[in-house]
């Protein structure tokens, strides 16, 4: 028997007898012989935990780019931030980890209240009144924002800034095939979006812009709002929720929807998942909100209670008329983010954003002092920046890897001539010593 099955042979025999059967195979008599698997699965025999852990450790050991062995200067929506022991301990509590979607609110107040607190925190960061209980990741939140925006505006054309993460744009293109949305990429000029003139009859239904954008640059959101006012398009801002510690909120710029990647709040890099899709919107669009939403109410004794609400939007009730097919989301990461934001608090969010900005400034000065390395753009940056290298970025990343640095992300494919661009992120974990060593290694790598 497998380790995780409690039944003894005697118990199995007794249960089969109760069913009038003599073997486990008979349970599958309804399966036609013609389709049954007539052999064992060609997989290795099961082994004990120590052997499994040895194997997984061996795989882990083949990853050179692990933050305990290589200093991380890569970002692009996935950041090497501090996660304190307290966040790990609380987020690892098995009541949060091993529960299902809160279908029975009487025994799910823990998750429901934690998500309610998460929604409040995200809404405050966004400067918008409503945030959902999470989506899969930043890219999936962007896809859902476009779906909402097209439905709300009634226009299928979407203008997406080239400063939106390349992978988000690729996802928008993938899913537009099913929905029929027309995605038009608006290029960056000197680091910020060069929005086109509006031609009569060709007004977009949605504008999407990053804040800061993929290159780390601060966009003119006032200009985006003006275009939306003139055209009736919805304004979707892909915001960095940690940078919001210093930056104006998306809502204060007039955004209708804010989406973002929430990995930075306590979730490990984990090679890209599971992460946390953030989604907040204005009150006007709450009935089109994708995914789950927790609301406060009372129980029969009048005690405060929490429950998933506006359920009539969701796929299990509306089926083919649902606004989204999202069912499972990333609740555990949302709870983790609530814990991490609880740890940071009002002053801590400002502090971490400030520390990132200072380290970024220090690193940018050091990197631009390297011969042959020039700024990609002159627009102001906050916690991430792009540079132009004299040789291919991929070559630099490989060489820097040998020196113990994950140098950043190549801009190949993201922007024109991106193969010579390097995107560098500097978090509050980076010390001046590390940054100095990084710049020295870069000088060697490009020489």
């Amino acid at each position: 028997m497998g380790t995780y099955i409690p039944h003894t042979d005697d118990e199995i025999e007794a249960m089969l007898a109760f069913l009038g059967l003599s073997s486990l195979e008979e349970l599958f008599a309804v399966v036609p012989e013609a389709v049954k698997l007539q052999r064992s699965l060609e997989l290795a025999d099961g082994v004990g935990e120590p052997d499994v852990l040895d194997r997984m450790e061996a795989l882990a050991d083949r990853n050179r780019a692990r933050t305990d062995r290589m200093v991380c200067f890569a970002g692009g929506g996935a950041y090497d931030h501090e996660t304190p022991s307290v966040t790990r301990a609380l987020a690892g509590r098995s009541e949060f980890v091993t529960s299902y979607t809160p279908y029975q609110p009487e025994v799910a107040q823990g998750v429901l209240q934690a998500v309610f607190e998460f929604q409040t925190m995200v809404a405050r960061i966004a400067g918008l009144p409503v945030a959902n209980a999470s989506l899969y990741d930043g890219g999936s939140a962007a896809v859902e924002a476009v779906n909402l925006g097209v439905a709300a505006s009634g226009r299928q054309t979407v203008w997406v800034s080239e400063g939106i993460h390349l992978h988000w744009r690729q996802m928008l293109a993938t899913f537009a095939v099913g929905t029929g949305h027309v995605i038009r990429t608006i290029p960056l000029v000197d680091g910020v979006t060069a929005w086109p003139e509006i031609v009569d009859g060709e007004a977009p239904g949605v504008l999407m812009v990053g804040y800061p954008n993929y290159l780390g640059c601060l966009e003119d959101l006032g200009a985006v709002r003006s275009i939306c006012d003139a055209t009736g398009a919805l304004m979707v801002v892909g915001a960095d929720p940690l940078a919001a510690g210093l930056l104006r909120s998306a809502g204060s710029w007039g955004a209708d929807v804010m989406v973002g990647e929430g990995q930075m709040f306590g979730t490990s890099l984990g090679f890209g998942g599971p992460y946390l899709g953030l989604f907040a919107c204005s009150a006007a669009h709450v009935r089109r909100l994708p995914g789950r939403l927790v609301g406060e109410t009372v129980d029969v004794e009048g005690r405060t209670a929490y429950v998933t609400t506006l359920r009539a939007r969701e796929q299990d009730i509306r089926r083919e008329k649902a606004t989204s097919n999202v069912c499972t989301n990333q609740t555990l990461m949302a709870v983790t983010a609530a814990i991490q934001l609880g740890w940071l608090g009002t002053a801590g969010l400002v502090e971490v954003a400030t520390r990132c900005a200072r380290a970024t400034r220090y690193a940018r000065d050091a990197v631009l002092a390297v011969d042959g390395v020039t700024p990609w753009a002159d627009a102001p940056v906050l916690r991430e920046f792009a540079v132009r290298l004299p040789i291919l970025a991929d070559t630099v990343i490989e060489r820097m890897g040998d020196e113990g640095f994950l140098a950043g992300i190549s801009l190949e494919g993201a922007v024109d001539e991106g193969e010579h661009g390097l995107l560098i992120a500097v978090t509050e974990r980076r010390t001046a010593t590390q940054i100095d060593a990084y710049a020295a290694a870069l000088a060697k790598a490009v020489a």
């Binding site: 090679f271 429950v307 499972t328 609740t331 609880g342």
Partner: protein, 512 residues
């Protein structure tokens, strides 16, 4: 003594965490973290970096700078721990007790997998790091892809979809791309009336129209009805097998042949894959596209509603259309990324819910091929034992051998005593068990859908069945009114859901 009042009053009146277990004893609710906030209190601290402390004015242009900080809670680490610990005590979980939620496969999640997900060499890897520095991750992904293909009988898989619904939409886009490559995308997708709600929602997002076919009196697809809607505009069918009634679609070979005859594809919703591991494979049944829910079948924890992982496996002819880039072997024990030639594109920001994949691989390695088959056998044994044990107590709309789950109904109890499925579910909470899935599948009146999973012992099954019998007897003896009072001893009692929707309070700030 006025002096004493002056010194103590402000403290009593101020907010802040009080570390007591009162909320656990049913005497109190837990305040939100915002109500525990006390100005100036803090938990955060950071590394000493020696980075120069440039004034913020020089870092952020004035036009972009926030005027006031984002107001979050201000609590001590001790308050933070007390708050979330108390919340965790108000939460049911698999670790605490049986969770027979039908179609959700809430089996025990081995702790070993938590260790795996926390390994620094897996958890600490940036997703944009090049292949040369992430060989372990690529090897892991190729290994689980090959494993899942062996389990499902398919040729290749994408690991990108983050959950079942994401897998469904990916599968439908694959279906669309395939048909487009044959000349026309077609316009309709068939789903049975017993299907999960995500199926029709995904079909719509995939740009298709839903055609629903009814179930017959055996609880399986009505073959005549299916044939009547088949034509060359049908792109495919989405099926769960065993279906959501827990019944195996015995005509599956015939269904597959009929679909393939009109050039349609078969999509397998893997929500119920646990029932058939090592017994029968979707690929051998004729399916072209299969999604799996690793958070069900392969024991990765569901996290209160996610994360999941929904890899999609396909037959040979669909491999060129898979999302990309894909992890592949490049020879000599090395691995790299490859974009399939006719890929539908990217469906995840990075490579999928990768740490969930690592957990699932560890689980499969521990169980091995034969262990997986045992999982299916015992899951089906447990469900049939429950069916046999309770079929005189509750209605069983389709009373024949089931697979991993059984659908009971309180139709008679409702007609004769006014007791609904919901009442039985809420009453069961009082007994210390999580409720079954209720009112699903939609085609069964007053449905109670029970999926015990293989990790619940015979003793737990006996206790669960005894509780359900006791509840049914109570319903007969006392009727609806007393039953409607339950649950009594849970952290909160029945919740006013109508009020939550009518007076929407989605944040703390919306309270007043």
């Amino acid at each position: 003594m006025p002096d004493e009042t002056e010194t103590t009053q402000p403290l009593i009146g101020a907010p802040g965490g009080k570390a007591t277990s009162a909320p656990l004893l049913g005497r109190d609710t837990e305040p939100t973290i915002f109500e525990l906030s006390h100005p100036g209190r803090r938990a955060w601290n950071f590394r000493t970096t020696q980075v120069p402390e440039v004034p913020v004015d020089e870092l952020v242009p004035a036009v972009h700078r926030r005027q006031t900080p984002v107001e979050l809670a201000e609590v001590s680490e001790r308050d933070l721990v007390a708050h979330f610990t108390r919340l965790s005590h108000r939460q049911f979980s698999v670790d605490l007790g049986a969770y027979p939620l039908g179609s959700c496969t809430m089996k025990y999640n081995p702790k070993m997998c938590d260790t795996v997900a926390g390994l620094p060499g897996l958890a600490g890897v940036h997703p944009a790091a090049p292949a040369s520095m992430t060989q372990g991750w690529l090897e892991l992904m190729v290994e689980i892809e090959e494993t899942l293909c062996e389990v499902t009988g398919m040729a290749a898989a994408t690991l990108q979809p983050a959950a079942g619904a994401a897998g469904e939409l990916t599968g439908l886009l694959l279906m669309r791309a395939w048909h487009e490559a044959q000349g026309a995308p077609r316009s309709k997708v068939i789903i049975p009336d017993s299907a999960h709600g995500t199926n029709p929602a995904s079909v719509t997002l995939g740009g298709y129209d839903v055609v629903t076919v009814p179930s017959d009196d055996r609880g399986c697809i009505d073959m005549a009805a299916l044939r009547s809607v088949l034509d060359e505009d049908v792109a495919g069918i989405m099926l769960t097998n065993p279906n959501t009634l827990g019944l195996f679609e015995e005509d599956i070979a015939e269904i597959a042949a009929a679909l393939h005859q009109v050039g349609g594809l078969l999509y397998y919703d893997g929500a119920n894959l646990n029932a058939i591991l090592g017994v029968v494979r979707p690929g051998d049944m004729g399916f072209d596209i299969v999604h799996m829910n690793l958070h069900k079948t392969f024991a990765t924890p569901h996290g209160g509603g996610g994360p999941g992982a929904g890899p999609v496996a396909v037959s040979e002819r669909l491999v060129p259309f898979l999302p990309g880039p894909r992890p592949v072997r490049t020879g000599g024990g090395e691995y790299g990324w490859e974009m399939p030639p006719r890929s539908i594109g990217r469906v995840h920001t990075w490579h999928g819910n990768t740490l969930v994949l690592a957990r699932a691989l560890a689980y499969i390695l521990a169980n091995g091929g034969d262990g997986l088959k045992e999982i299916a056998q015992i899951a089906v044994l447990n469900a049939n034992w429950i069916r046999q044990r309770l079929h005189h107590t509750f209605d069983v709309p389709f009373d024949r051998p089931c697979m991993h789950e059984v659908v009971l109904s309180t139709k008679t109890l409702k007609a004769e005593h006014g007791v609904r499925a919901l009442d039985v579910a809420k009453r069961l909470l009082e007994e210390g068990f999580h409720a079954p899935t209720v009112y699903f599948p939609l085609i069964v009146e007053e449905a109670l859908m029970i999926e015990p999973t293989e990790t619940e012992s015979p003793q737990t099954l006996e206790a669960l069945a005894s509780s359900l019998e006791k509840i049914a007897a109570e319903a007969v003896a006392t009727g609806w009114l007393p039953m409607a009072e339950y649950p009594l001893g849970t952290p909160v009692r029945r919740v006013d859901e109508a009020r939550a929707a009518r007076t929407l309070i989605p944040t703390f700030d919306a309270r007043n």
